[in-house]
């Protein structure tokens, strides 16, 4: 097997190794499935409840996507605003940093008061947790524009807007895609956390109800499903990133 090929499958090999090790520990020490279920048991429970899990997973998925979509729109607009204006940067950035330091799970009870139990709090929690990296990356991409490049265009009578559209935006695309990969995983965290206390549907809700019914296998199956969805979306954005901003990743092509 050639080295690049081996690199590609390496994470699968590691995953399989961990699962085998896990199974071995559980079988060897005969650990109770109510404490720590074995992979085989998790898989059995997964098959047993697959329609239930699929329904909850679908709910978590689209709610996350809604929150994430909102995060992209708001993150890009805010990032554009604070990246293109020094005044906006000075005014907004410190406040945004303070806001980002707040634990987003703490917002859930407030959101429940405002929007009730259901999709409202989940979408908004996913949004609140994931827009920040998008905003910061767009702003950084725009704010670090080389002054010579700007002069080349300004000499031609280019307006600030021209410079932003022709240079600033394309230049910040690699930063943008990098931030999407971080943001999508955060969005899943936001949705799941919110569903744990403020929903009757979704993987978060499934985790809590399975836990309280001592169905540990089902709870773990739910965790695996969230992890798998986040990883799939991450890979999707990686592919899009490679195909749209290959110029920024040329080092790895040689």
């Amino acid at each position: 097997m050639s080295r690049p090929h081996f690199e590609r499958v390496s994470s699968w090999i590691l995953l399989i190794a961990i699962v085998i090790f896990w199974q071995a520990i559980c079988s060897l020490f005969q650990i109770s499935e109510f404490i720590f279920p074995s992979p085989v048991r998790i898989f059995e429970q997964f098959l047993e409840h697959k329609t239930t899990i699929a329904a909850h997973a679908w709910r978590t998925f689209w709610v996350t996507m809604a929150g994430f979509g909102l995060a992209i729109v708001v993150g890009v607009l805010l990032g554009f605003a604070i990246g293109s204006s020094r005044l906006a940067y000075a005014a907004v950035y410190p406040l945004m940093t303070a806001f980002n330091a707040l634990p987003k799970a703490a917002f859930v009870p407030i959101l429940v008061v405002w929007f009730g139990i259901g999709i409202g709090p989940a979408i908004l929690t996913a949004f609140l947790i994931s827009f920040f990296p998008i905003m910061v990356n767009i702003a950084t991409g725009l704010a670090t524009l080389e002054p010579e490049l700007e002069d080349v265009l300004r000499v031609l009578g280019a307006k600030r807007w021209d410079v932003l559209i022709k240079i600033g935006l394309p230049r910040s695309m690699p930063y943008f895609f990098a931030s999407l990969k971080v943001a999508i995983t955060l969005a899943f965290v936001g949705t799941t956390v919110s569903e744990m206390t403020a929903a009757n549907e979704g993987i978060g809700y499934l985790l809590i109800s399975a836990g309280s019914a001592m169905q540990m296998g089902l709870a773990f199956a739910g965790l695996v499903v969230v992890g798998a969805m986040a990883m799939l979306m991450y890979e999707l954005f990686s592919v899009i990133e490679k195909n749209t901003t290959a110029w920024a990743h040329r080092g790895s092509q040689h």
Partner: protein
């Protein structure tokens, strides 16, 4: 045609009102007359205000005192008739070579509004320009697939695509090795001979200035001020062999002496 194309009349520039109040000028008392189609070079030590001079000439910075006229009109803002190239090629890595060259046409009128309809014609023009600097085969490559010297040639093409009346070069060959640099001197000489735009070349390479320019100005630092003007009476067309002639060496030596004299002047 006696009318000067570019003239500076007692131009002073301070970068901020505070500096102006303290009488700290980046450049002072600049007087300059450039004829239509003249190639001038400005030489001097680093930090002597050469780049400031460029900003003034292109209208990116208004002068604090004095008057700058281009083509018989006072300069009030970016001129749109000039093209610029710097020491760093600063090409856009996501655009192919040809699209980098075309960039100014997407900005400057009247090309801007015609760009979509007449894209093919403009592309032909860009290809002809790339051909002139020996890069036609690289038109559809990305900048990072080109060597440093090639990138600098592309950068000069980009500065020329909209047929500027004035080309401003800020140490454009400073980062290149000696052989590539001499190649590019010849390329620039040929482009200029062909199209006769005005060139303002800022450099600290005296041989470069003597080889290319009609007139060389020597600048002093802090504050920036012209201290000498030397017409280069070498016949054209000039070739690289000429740089080994006695008269060429004499001119370079004379300018070097001027710079040396500048350096011994203690800052006021």
């Amino acid at each position: 045609m006696n009318e000067a194309f570019l003239s500076f009349q007692n131009v002073w520039l301070a970068y901020s009102p505070q500096l102006l109040a303290q009488g700290q000028f980046a450049v002072e008392a600049i007087d300059l007359e450039v004829k239509q189609g003249e190639f001038i070079a400005i030489v001097g030590p680093s930090g002597c205000g050469k780049s400031t001079f460029m900003k003034l000439a292109t209208g990116l910075k208004p002068p604090s005192k004095g008057r700058i006229m281009v083509d018989g009109q006072a300069v009030k803002g970016p001129l749109k008739i000039s093209g610029m190239a710097f020491q760093a090629p600063s090409l856009l890595p996501w655009r192919r070579t040809i699209d980098n060259v075309l960039l100014p046409l997407e900005i400057v009128e009247p090309h801007r509004s015609r760009f979509r309809q007449e894209k093919e014609r403009y592309e032909g023009k860009a290809l002809a320009l790339l051909d002139a600097v020996g890069l036609k085969a690289y038109a559809h490559k990305y900048p990072w697939q080109l060597s440093g010297g090639m990138q600098q040639r592309v950068s000069i093409c980009r500065a020329l695509i909209h047929e500027p009346k004035m080309l401003l070069l800020d140490e454009p060959f400073g980062a290149l090795d000696a052989f590539t640099r001499e190649d590019l001197w010849c390329i620039l000489r040929d482009l200029w001979t062909d199209q006769r735009f005005n060139v303002i070349l800022v450099t600290h390479d005296l041989r470069e200035s003597v080889f290319l320019a009609d007139t060389v100005y020597v600048m002093r630092q802090s504050p920036g001020r012209f201290v000498a003007k030397r017409s280069i009476d070498l016949p054209r067309p000039r070739d690289l062999d000429m740089t080994y002639s006695a008269h060429f060496t004499e001119l370079v030596h004379e300018l070097r002496t001027q710079i040396g004299a500048v350096r011994t002047v203690s800052p006021a």
